[in-house]
């Protein structure tokens, strides 16, 4: 019976890893090997696919879009952490608004495309950078995660600091910020991944070239040249690697955060 379990686990693990292994392999396939149809016969290593990505103007091309997306999503993540951190502090200090955030958690964001589009039209920020930033500047999920973290900070600690004359600013930056570092990292990675992975939303609310995210860029390339795996895989790898590295660095923390969330 036991070996059956091992077999299942390793088969599934291999299948789950397969697209990643393939992506890493295909990104470095020499273009000749793809055209000759002999992809597994001759092992080759080539950076040609990455060079192809650099063609065209920098800002319109792949690397420019990657930089834009990293800056955009990084900025949104910082905003979400800031608003979430402050809100979690307010709840910890006795503001009775946790239910408000819990109710919002149940709203399916993916289904709100139509009314959100209407709202952005009304605010006259459709097709501007704001359309990609403002709707994601706060997240009920992040507020919840950070509040869970703050709950574990003993009240006496804050009380003692207050008696010493510490104000909100000192409490937030000198005490809570370092104590909540693990939660902030986990929340930050999840917030980053969520925004990074938006596919349909940016396409609809910010269609112009200079606002194109790397996801849109890749899906457009896939539509135009579905057979051109080399550059496609190189782009996919370059767009995936940052997240994989961040994830591997903080994997333990992230998985634990999910496990704690399940207990609550």
């Amino acid at each position: 019976m036991r070996w059956l379990g091992h077999l299942l686990v390793w088969t599934v693990a291999l299948l789950v890893a397969l697209p990643f292994i393939w992506m890493a392999y295909a990104a470095f396939i020499p273009p000749e090997a793809v055209f000759s149809g002999n992809i597994f016969g001759q092992l080759g290593f080539s950076l040609a696919n990455f060079e192809v990505l650099g063609r065209g103007g920098f800002w319109e091309g792949f690397w420019g879009r990657l930089l834009f997306s990293v800056l955009l999503t990084g900025g949104v993540t910082l905003l979400q952490l800031t608003t979430g951190f402050l809100a979690a502090y307010a709840i910890k200090e006795g503001a009775k608004i946790l239910p408000f955030f819990l109710v919002l958690l149940a709203i399916p964001v993916e289904l709100l495309l139509v009314p959100l589009y209407g709202l952005l039209v009304g605010l006259r920020i459709l097709d501007t950078l704001w359309a990609l930033v403002l709707p994601f500047a706060a997240s009920p999920f992040i507020v919840y995660l950070l509040f869970q973290g703050m709950r574990t900070v003993p009240e006496e600690l804050l009380e003692a600091a207050r008696l010493d004359g510490a104000g909100h600013r000192v409490l937030l930056t000198r005490i809570l910020l370092p104590l909540l570092r693990p939660q902030l990292i986990a929340a930050g990675v999840l917030a980053f991944a969520a925004h990074w992975n938006l596919v349909l939303y940016p396409r609809i609310v910010a269609g112009s070239k200079e606002l194109q995210t790397v996801q849109t860029w890749i899906t457009d390339l896939q539509r135009q040249n579905p057979a051109d795996w080399g550059p496609l895989s190189a782009a996919a790898l370059a767009a995936t690697l940052p997240l994989v590295i961040i994830y591997l660095l903080y994997e333990r923390r992230i998985v634990e955060t999910f496990e704690e969330g399940l207990k609550g």
Binding site: L8, L86, L119, A193, N197, Q222, A239, E251, I254, F258
Partner: protein
Amino acid sequence: MGRNNAHWFALPAVALLGLFLLYPFLDVLRFSTWDWSGLSEPRVIGLENYRNILRDPDFYSSLRITLIFGAMTLVPFVILSILLALALDGQPYERPIKALLFLPGLVTLGGATVAWYTLFSPEYGALASVVPVPRWDQSPFWALVLVMLFTIWRHIGYGVLVVSARLKAIPKTLLEAAAVDGATAAQAFRYITLPLLRPAITFLVVIGTVLTLQGYTAVFLLTRGGPFGGTEVLGYYLYKTGFEVGRLGYAAALTVIILLLTLAFALAQARLLREEK
């Protein structure tokens, strides 16, 4: 200094979420009574959109596809989550494997679909040159299978985590006592482990239903609703009518209907699974 002024720190989050999440969520009701393309001047038409949806064959066809897709995905997803969590429990490789299983859910969606596409495409795919790949670009059934496999691939880590967290909460003494009383491993699983896993399974089924009723990004990226509309799930139909055909009012009414369907399904399932005790 008063502690009450700390309340103001919640203002940015409350204001932003109120405007960009709660307000649109309620506002969708107003849009659903409009005839509106997004560019044109909106025209109020009352419940006309809803009446049209109930007579719309495309709506029923995508509802049917969504239900088939949901059943096709959910059953293997839940079973696989349970089996993997059981097989992983207490193994030396538990942590690294869980980390690996969790990875597809976080990585770049566009990149992930590129890898899947270049690997599995029957026309251009790498696998097609080694083994025959079913023509999912021509057969709606295989296209659904592809989207199902992709969906399971992305979420299996979370499923395993949910079951596993529950599994760890079962006291080992309970299983030991059963073994002392002469229960076989299969009996112990059937009469002790499985009933105690019920909350986790309920949770997965409800969450999974909500996600399948509402999700459509994978469909958009992999099949675009095709072939022959065979993978046009409700969410994708909503996206298409709203932003490709340009009937935003109609799409808003669809949103309301999908939300109501989700709510009804989730409540019914939670109830069924609880009562079955």
